[in-house]
């Protein structure tokens, strides 16, 4: 390490660029074909979306396997459009919350609540709204479906972005201030990169949740209006209506293929790429890998072709917004506090107004007994969620720990658990329903497991992650002192996985509440099964177009979920943070 090295300029970036050869390789050709195909498919799907609503009636969804790829494409496209909307929401709203204390006062609690609200309940309201916005066009219904997915994705992304913005390292903040970064440059160079890793993780979680809703939102029945958008969700609901088990199986298979594809082609490369934004100064041992990412980085032509993908980034970095002269006025001392007070008064006033509107709306259509009914049904669903989470815990914690302690197994099974968590469990419902009908089982009990069918995997993969993160020296110490059996669990296993378990169980319980709306009332052909619960209450009200009951159901469920989070999961989380943090 010599300071004044007289070396000739060795590896300069431009020189490196020139070394890129011009002879295409086989990988280049394949990659080119893949890219071209993807572009064409996206254009096709987008064209379809703009068509008139009448087309839906002339060419209804059919169970023709030849059309399944198109359906899959349109479903996927909806997902990504919703994701785009969620990202836009994240960048604007979360940034606003982080920059303005007044906005923060409203946005943060709102996000916290929206995270735990059963989004399926929103469907009713939004479909009507969007169909009114684009009368006679598919676009309206598409928007409603996309909005439904958006409502399942946006909140946790915005929340994570907000938290990242609030925890920007102080030295980097000082550097950007010292060099007088413009707000835009600060966003591009500091805030966005810093937030990327946790944002990517939250996007993946959101996508998993989104599949669940895309299935539920493509075939919507609100009161007398029934719309079926071409997509896997509609295929499945048609197959269910026709009791066509083979078609259901094909639909499920298509879903699996789509999920594997998007995971391999989109998320793996993104995760591998986002690794460079992780805020740590030391090189980490294990880097997330992706064959596609490596392929792109290795193949010459492909790198040149993928270069346009980085254009937005470089354009963003290069853009120089004209500096806006800040209107600096020094508010008199104490004015800030008065403004704050005014703002708080305004917020409280609108809160009161909102409560009044809600009250007049509900009281016009409902009686007090409805509220009691909703609460009673809420308790029934609460009991189901609690029992099921407990059962899932008892089942998956030992299995997860067993897997997590064996790195070879963990490496193979972790992706499987993540895939299962991403897989929309509602497409599996028909099989369960057929079974319940065939064996004449009680729906009140046997429909319940459907609620955790999709969400239990969050517990499993978090526990696996926790068990693999137990430090080697702790395991060795436990081995040397002969700690095993119950003592091992009490002093090593449970404390080690606890923070991870709480994260997983929190997600699982939130998801289960949401799933109850589709799991407590299911249909198989002309057979209709229903369990007594708040989910069934909301589902029934939605089908009947009874807005007041939907609103009541959603409100009551939100209260249950929030209370459950505040009274059980939060304290556990805080305890884990305080006492059980390794390192």
């Amino acid at each position: 390490m010599v300071f004044l090295s007289g070396d000739p300029k060795a590896a300069r970036p431009r020189a490196r660029f020139l070394r890129v050869g011009t002879v295409p390789s086989w990988a280049d050709l394949i990659a080119f074909l893949l890219l071209a195909a993807a572009a064409i498919l996206i254009v096709r799907g987008a064209e379809d979306m703009g068509q008139s609503l009448a087309v839906l009636h002339t060419t209804p969804v059919t169970l023709d396997p030849a059309r399944l790829p198109e359906y899959a494409l349109r479903t996927t496209l909806r997902m990504f459009l919703a994701l785009g909307a969620s990202l836009f929401f994240t960048f604007t709203v979360a940034t606003l919350a982080a920059k303005s204390r007044k906005a923060e006062l409203v946005i943060v609690p709102a996000l916290d609540i929206l995270q735990s609200v059963p989004v399926l309940g929103f469907l009713t309201f939004t479909v009507t709204f969007f169909m009114g916005l684009f009368p006679g066009r598919q676009l309206g219904v598409e928007c409603a479906a996309i909005f439904a997915i958006f409502t399942s994705q946006a909140w946790n992304m915005a929340f994570s972005f907000y938290q990242s913005l609030r925890s920007i390292p102080s030295d980097l903040d000082e550097v950007s201030r010292q060099f007088a970064f413009s707000p835009w440059r600060r966003f591009v160079r500091l805030e966005l990169p810093f937030a990327t890793p946790s944002l990517v993780w939250n996007v993946m979680m959101s996508m998993s949740g989104g599949w669940f809703f895309v299935v539920a939102s493509e075939a919507i029945t609100v009161g007398n209006t029934t719309v079926t958008l071409p997509g896997i969700g509609s295929w499945l609901s048609l197959a269910i209506a026709r009791q066509d088990m083979k078609a259901v199986a094909i639909g499920v298979g298509a879903m699996a293929v789509v999920i594997v594809l998007y995971d391999q082609l989109v998320f793996r490369p993104i995760v591998a790429w986002a690794d460079k934004f992780r805020f740590e100064q030391t090189a980490s041992g294990e880097r997330p890998g992706s064959w596609l990412y490596d392929l792109v980085r290795r193949t010459r032509w492909l790198r040149a072709l993928a270069a346009p993908l980085t254009w937005p980034a470089s354009v963003m970095a290069a853009v120089d917004w004209p500096a806006i002269p800040k209107a600096r006025f020094a508010p008199p001392l104490g004015a800030g506090r008065i403004l704050d007070a005014v703002w708080i008064a305004l917020v409280v006033a609108s809160g009161v107004a909102g409560a009044w509107v809600l009250w007049t709306f509900l009281s016009a259509h409902l009686v007090f007994a409805d509220l009691l009914t909703a609460f009673g049904l809420g308790l029934a669903t609460l009991a189901r969620v609690a029992v099921l989470i407990a059962l899932a815990t008892v089942t998956w914690v030992p299995i997860g720990v067993w897997i997590g302690l064996r790195p070879a197994w963990a490496e193979r099974l972790q992706p499987v658990a993540q895939f299962l968590a991403a897989f929309p469990a509602n497409v599996m419902f028909p099989f369960a329903v057929a079974g319940i009908v065939a064996f004449h089982l009680s729906p009140d009990i046997w429909l319940s497991p459907l609620m955790v069918l999709g969400t239990q995997w969050y517990i499993l993969f978090n526990v696996i992650a926790g068990a693999s993160a137990i430090p080697g020296d702790l395991k060795e110490a436990a081995g040397i002192f002969g700690i095993r059996g119950w003592q091992w669990w009490r002093q090593v296993g449970i404390p080690g996985i606890f923070p991870y378990y709480v994260t997983g169980a929190l997600t699982a319980s939130g998801g289960s509440w949401n799933a109850s709306i589709v799991a407590e009332a299911v249909t198989w052909g002309d057979k209709h099964l229903e369990a007594a619960g708040l989910g069934a209450f909301i589902a029934k009200a939605t089908a009947a177009g009874d807005y007041a009951r939907v609103a009541l159901g959603v409100a009551v469920m939100s209260i249950f979920v929030i209370a459950f989070n505040r009274m059980l999961w939060r304290p556990m989380y805080r305890f884990a943070e305080r006492r059980l943090r390794l390192a």
């Binding site: 390490m1 010599v2 300071f3 004044l4 090295s5 070396d7 300029k9 060795a10 590896a11 300069r12 970036p13 490196r16 390292p169 030295d171 980097l172 000082e174 550097v175 950007s176 201030r177 010292q178 060099f179 007088a180 970064f181 413009s182 440059r185 160079r189 500091l190 990169p193 810093f194 990327t196 460079k276 934004f277 992780r278 805020f279 740590e280 100064q281 030391t282 090189a283 970095a317 290069a318 120089d320 006492r579």
Partner: protein, 439 residues
């Protein structure tokens, strides 16, 4: 305070009567800078030397424009025929963007100034070349060693052509050998005039580093931060650490930094730490370090009386790390610190010879008698029938006279000492002080 008269034209930075208070607007303020004057002139390296909490970093950040001092002025006097003075900063923690390559990190300041890409690239490569980072252009910070990372920090600061380079403990996060290499390299560049800068202002707590690099050293007292003396270093570069003149300067600064009640007179313990009585901000010093220092000073070759520079060298401690331990001993009346010399009291000698239990008893006596907060907590616990008191009670009490961070640190320090002394117990889960022995 020493004022040095300079020819008007060579002044780059003029700091006048700067005061800075930290804390809430109401009440609990901590005065970190009190009436500080400083002039930085052309062609000099000035060091701000002081202990942690002496406000030297605050002063540096005020000059960098990152903090607005509560009162006073920071001026960059216009100089005839010269561009206005600009500053740039090197950080202790390097503060590199981990997602940008070395080249991009260096370019970042130019980018913010809207320099055209071609020129940006050219200037960045020149700075990289100058600072000896050739070949690392496309590396990411996490691939570099600490020394290389700080070189990136230097290149990034230099590439924008500042007239003044501000450095905040630039070498203290590096190991001894790496730090020395970087210092020498920087001094070489400076002496050969190969950097565009006109002056360097650096913050350090390392006395030898200051004497090695600076033309002028401003020694800061702590609590509140004031300039207690200005020392001119006339030794020619390169300087030799073993040169008797060099040693004498280091020695002299040690003495200055250990003057009793540096800032004011009063009782021996007053002025040791910020605040008075129960509201004294205490450092988190482990009881093992305290016992270790007693044993080290009590044993050969010091035999109860040690010169701080020798002690620091012998124990391989930096002054900044050694001072809090020595001062805690002084607070506990186990030692006296005066004129750069640490002398053990008879109690400390008894402590050194005692067994574990006797040591704990002796420590408890001194703790309760001489650390007001410890005595206060113990009294409250004694008075209560339940012999328990919530820690928040004392935390709130402390926050009346200090910031929440300091209150937390102080309470943790006292809790730790009291646990060792078995003077009282603390239950973390319940956040409760008790007199119970653990079951």
């Amino acid at each position: 305070m020493t004022h040095i008269t300079h020819v008007q034209d060579t002044r780059l930075v003029d700091v006048r009567n700067v005061r800075h208070l930290y804390g809430k607007a109401s009440g609990a303020n901590l005065l970190v800078l009190d009436d500080v004057d400083l002039t930085l002139c052309d062609n000099e390296i000035v060091g701000l030397l002081g202990r942690s909490g002496s406000g030297k970093s605050t002063l540096l950040r005020s000059i960098a424009g990152l903090i607005k001092p509560t009162s006073g002025q920071i001026l960059f006097p216009p100089r005839a025929g010269q561009a206005p003075t600009t500053v740039s900063m090197v950080f202790q923690s390097f503060a590199l963007f981990p997602w940008l390559t070395v080249l991009q990190n260096v370019e970042v300041g130019l980018e913010a100034r809207r320099v055209k890409p071609d020129e940006r690239r050219r200037r960045a490569l020149a700075a990289i070349d100058l600072i000896g980072l050739d070949g690392f252009e496309n590396a990411y910070p996490k691939e570099l060693s600490g020394g290389m990372r700080q070189r990136v920090g230097l290149a990034r600061a230099l590439v924008v052509d500042p007239s003044v380079l501000l450095m905040d403990e630039p070498f203290s996060a590096l190991d001894v050998l790496t730090a020395e290499t970087l210092r020498t390299d920087l001094l070489d560049l400076w002496c050969e005039g190969r950097m565009p800068i006109k002056a360097i202002l650096m913050v350090t707590h390392n006395i030898e580093e200051a004497v090695l690099m600076c033309d002028r050293i401003l020694v800061f007292s702590s609590n509140p931060g004031r300039v207690v003396s200005t020392i001119k270093v006339d030794l020619p570069q390169p300087r030799n650490r073993l040169d008797p003149a060099f040693r004498a300067l280091v020695e002299g600064i040690y003495v200055q930094m250990t003057q009793p009640g540096q800032a004011r007179g009063g009782r021996q313990n007053e002025g040791l730490f910020p605040g008075t009585g129960v509201g004294m901000v205490l450092p988190r010093v482990s009881t093992n370090a305290l016992a270790g220092l007693i044993e080290a000073v009590g044993g050969a070759p010091f035999d109860g009386k040690a010169h701080m520079p020798d002690l620091a060298k012998d124990l391989q401690y930096e002054a900044d790390a050694l001072f809090p331990i020595a001062e805690t001993l002084q607070l506990l009346r186990f030692a006296e610190l005066e004129g750069g010399e640490l002398r053990l009291t008879p109690a400390a000698r008894r402590y050194a010879e005692a067994d574990v239990d006797a040591r704990k008893r002796l420590f408890a006596q001194h703790l309760l008698a001489h650390v007001p907060l410890a005595g206060h907590i113990r009294r409250v616990l004694d008075e209560r029938v339940s012999h328990r008191a919530p820690a928040t009670r004392f935390r709130d009490e402390l926050e009346d006279s200090m910031s929440p961070d300091y209150a937390e640190q102080t309470l943790k320090a006292v809790t730790n000492w009291a646990r060792y002394a078995e003077a009282f117990a603390y239950d973390e889960g319940a956040d409760l002080f008790t007199l119970d022995d653990p079951d």
